[in-house]
């Protein structure tokens, strides 16, 4: 199941931060990881990926760093910052609260569905 893009837009930064919290990644790797780790439910549009990363970088939630791999490829690796960790924790708590609220609203149907 693919999510509506508008629905995903709000949680996209949390998703990216969550993935990056497990280790630095470059853009392509990150988009792949989001798909794989979400069971291909969440897909971040490629046109959204890089502007999102740059915005997170502007907010100092992630940090980009150019590196050259052993094979000689230039890649920009993104890693989560301390501020990003704090933001992620805060947003995760909010999302959990949201999920709980939605669960109550849908009378347990949401939990059952999940």
């Amino acid at each position: 199941m693919k999510f509506e893009s508008q629905l995903l837009k709000g949680i996209a930064p949390v998703v990216v931060l969550e993935i990056l919290s497990r280790g630095p990644m470059y853009g392509y790797e990150l988009s792949q990881a989001i798909e794989q780790r979400s069971g291909e439910i969440l897909t971040l549009g490629k046109g959204t990926l890089y502007p999102l990363l740059y915005n997170l970088e502007a907010k100092k939630l992630v940090k980009g760093k150019w590196e050259t791999t052993e094979s000689g490829r230039h890649r920009r690796y993104y890693s989560i910052t301390g501020k990003g960790q704090e933001g992620l924790a805060r947003q995760k708590a909010q999302l959990q609260g949201l999920a709980k609220g939605l669960d109550l609203l849908f009378g347990g149907a949401l939990k059952a569905a999940l």
Partner: protein, 555 residues
Amino acid sequence: MQEKPNESSESGLPACAVEFIRRVTRKMRYRRKVRREVQAELTSHFEDAVRDGVTAEDKQRRAQELIEEFGDAKLLAVLCRRAKKRCRPLWRKVVVRGAQAAGIVVLYVALCSVRLLVGTPSLKVDYIAWLSDRTRAGREEALNAKPYLDKAVELLRDQERIVEVVRMPASWPGDMNEPQRQILADVTERNAEAFMMLRDAVRKPYYWVQYETVVHEPLPVGVNEPVEPAELDPAWAFNRVTLPTMPGYKRLAQAFCASILWRAYQGDVSGALDDSLVLMDFAMHLEGRGTEVEQLVGIAIEAVGRYLVPTLLDRCEVPGADLARIQGRLQHLYARHESMIDVTGDRAVWLALVQRMFTDDGAGNGRVLKEGLPLAARDWKDGVASLLLFGYPDRREMTVLIDTLWQEYQVALETEPSRPQYEERRTRWMALAQESFLIGKAAPTLNRMVSLVWRAQTGRRALLTMLAVMRYAEEKGVHPPTLDALVAEGYANELPIDPYSGRAFGYRRTGDGFLLYSVGQNLKDDGGQQGVNQAGRPRMWADNGDWVFWPVGQE
């Protein structure tokens, strides 16, 4: 190893991918360094995506799919640019925003300034010719004293010695040493022809000038003499009416004054008194019309004449017949030249400035040009605010301001200091003058002129009173008990009024003599106590105490 790519490595990518990346980076329209980073990042992304493609067609297909996933290149470019801009460090944001703001301000100021730079004045009215016509009032050339006065100046000899006379500490020849007296004798003898010409000049009833408007280069510091007029230039910044003869008139009056004193010292008191009247008549020819400068020179020369008469009365034996003659002639002169200052000429000069500093829309209005900023703005702050808000007064408003100012100024000049409105009118005029920087700068001088005029009027009235008192004493052998006796006994047609008290001058008999004074600037009767300067020495026209006219030498 950390390294930033200097150039994209697009080799091996399908042409459609290369083209897409180029489109994105080109449409980003941002700093080259940032564009290259994005280009490298997108290239890397495409390389990873097509890496598993076996054939060229497969790679092409994968690249095409990815391009579709990326979506519109232009939108991506815009989003990337916005996001990258947010990544700028704070100092760079401040610098960029500051530069943008400065640029906008500069652009706005430049746009505003265009209004000041574009346009030319239209010289429709020749105010200077108008002033010349007004002072002449259609009279015959033969009635003009000016050619005779100019000739008298031309005939002046030993001008250096005249300067020496002015610098002498003593004014009465009897108080001078022999060499100083010799200078007085020489100046009198060598300039007899010039003085004859002066006497001829004052027989002419009128004085007028054909004024010229000239551009004056800034005078070197300390140089007050008029300079050669430069060619008329419509783009000038400031103009004034040329009056090259004024320093010559001043020198002529100084030499004539020296000769009067010498003549009296030699015993010809009647002749000296007559010449004192000639000097005052000369002064009054310059007063009451024309430009402010001429009128001020006239007032200054008249003051010298008014100083000479009491000096001669004090130092010499003057027959009663001479006193009556002098009194009668002075009354006649004062009646004929009652007005000392006429500000119409000055107003015309300012209107001429407005004409040269504003555009003309053909309907009596226009806007200020850059030359007119000192005239149109109150001060630099008002100038800047007016520039940014297009708030400068237009030509019509400026003309109204000048008209109002000069009407108010004339009213201030005509208000006697003893009247309660005197200070209020002067203050109101001064406040109004501050509406223009240029007029505001001239205002203190013009304001001092009000005091100067009333001092001169006070001097005139005091001199007439003094002569009447002396005539009374000469004929009755005793000074009058009060000034009212002068009218009662026919020594004065009416009692001269002190402009600073609104009543008769202060008077009392003192032993063999008398005391005559005005209450002066402080409007308070200090019992004839002469005012003093800051050093505590008696001084005529001081702000404190009274102004004592008789006995002379109270300062």
